[in-house]
Symmetry: C2
Subunit: 102 residues, 2 copies
């Protein structure tokens, strides 16, 4: 998923699709590149589970899988927890040293 979000165009697609569901061709209109280029980006996001599509007539409407976005987000939040725990541990050690010094 990090891999999928590493591309600027794909992050923008996620942002736009989160605001409103869009067909692949509607998305393609927003970018300079070819339709096939955009379609490939959507396919990458789909494989990563960040975006899904549903058929409506001949169009494929893309929508965000918010759960997946949350997963990435919470992975990073977990890192922050680990960090917080470490900082507290160091604080404790420093406090212990100080007490010992008395």
């Amino acid at each position: 998923m990090f891999q999928a979000l590493a591309d600027r165009t794909r992050r923008d697609i996620v942002r736009r699709v989160m605001l409103e569901e869009l067909s692949v061709s509607e998305l393609a209109d927003s970018y300079e590149m070819s339709f096939a280029g955009v379609q490939k980006h959507v396919a990458v996001l789909e494989r990563a589970g960040l975006v899904s599509k549903r058929r409506v007539g001949r169009a494929q409407i893309a929508h965000v899988e918010m759960g997946a976005i949350r997963t990435v987000s919470s992975l990073l939040n977990e890192l922050e927890e680990v960090w917080r725990a470490r900082v507290e541990r160091i604080d404790d050690l420093l406090a212990a040293d100080e007490a010992e010094g008395q």
Copy 2:
């Protein structure tokens, strides 16, 4: 920063360095690849602002720039806010439709 976090080895380096500060060669010992390979990964993380180094004798000790990690995290949290706002807006529209139907 997404780009920097897109590589599995680099994510692992961030994780390890967050738990305890490590020199480049200490990090290199943890991976199958060459020292130079690991050094390059650390350089990428450094350029992305996710990791910093300080000299201690001949060693370069890497440590995490937690602020940068938080930035990535909060970017994703912002996405979630946008999402929440959109869902609420849709709820409002549905509620309005229902009221109108009465």
